[in-house]
Symmetry: C2
Subunit: 125 residues, 2 copies
Amino acid sequence: MTKPLDPEMFDPLCPSDLVPIRVGDKWAGMIIQCLEGGPRRFSELRVPLRNITPKVLTQSLRALERDGFVVRTVHAGPARNVQYELTSLGRSLLGLLDTARAWAEAHLDELIDARETASPASRTS
Amino acid sequence: MTKPLDPEMFDPLCPSDLVPIRVGDKWAGMIIQCLEGGPRRFSELRVPLRNITPKVLTQSLRALERDGFVVRTVHAGPARNVQYELTSLGRSLLGLLDTARAWAEAHLDELIDARETASPASRTS
DNA sequence: CAGCATCCTCCGCGATACTG
DNA sequence: CAGTATCGCGGAGGATGCTG
């Protein structure tokens, strides 16, 4: 049902590292976004998170599971198939992520200005 | 004008490390809270942040300044006096912190349950 | 009072290679 | 397919001591 994840749903050029808000570890926020549309498999998650190594993805997913944000389900079959899905608690973080994104978009220019003012990297104007 | 900061405004027993939301570095959120009521001096901030070392407090404050959340003002005088104050950008984070706290309070019990389920530390019931 | 200098430890995160 | 096993770096954070 759920469509495949957009491989470019996370722009590598996005200056999101300027935003001082983090939910969970480095990848947790993005993983939760990926799971918004429904359950996903391990390999499926690796696509939008382009350069993530399996070890790190496993770490993040295990942490999310331990904290009750995600459930892991193993569906036996010809080829192994493991599903990750948001719990209601995990889904409750989506609102927070939206709030954070809204704040970031509203203030991104100020963040950029502040950095430039702090480290005057060869102004042209 | 502004009353002294409550030395116990941050309960060391508070299970806030269960909450997967962070604004800036480890101390940034608390510092911003401290500055909500108006400008504060370096030593003043050290009181509620009981065990913070001056080096670490300086680090956090410099980062907040670099990112445009705080302004640092040196008032010369008999004894040195440095004020830290929230900018409007910094003040805009207060709403986010409130949202995060609201989420945390609403879901704290679920967070605790999840951890207990994950690591069954000697159940009695 | 408001820091700076130094040293050190822990852990997040990643690269690489291998497995049921 | 969905991981595990090892190795290693870099940076956050802290302890301790000194300074204009």
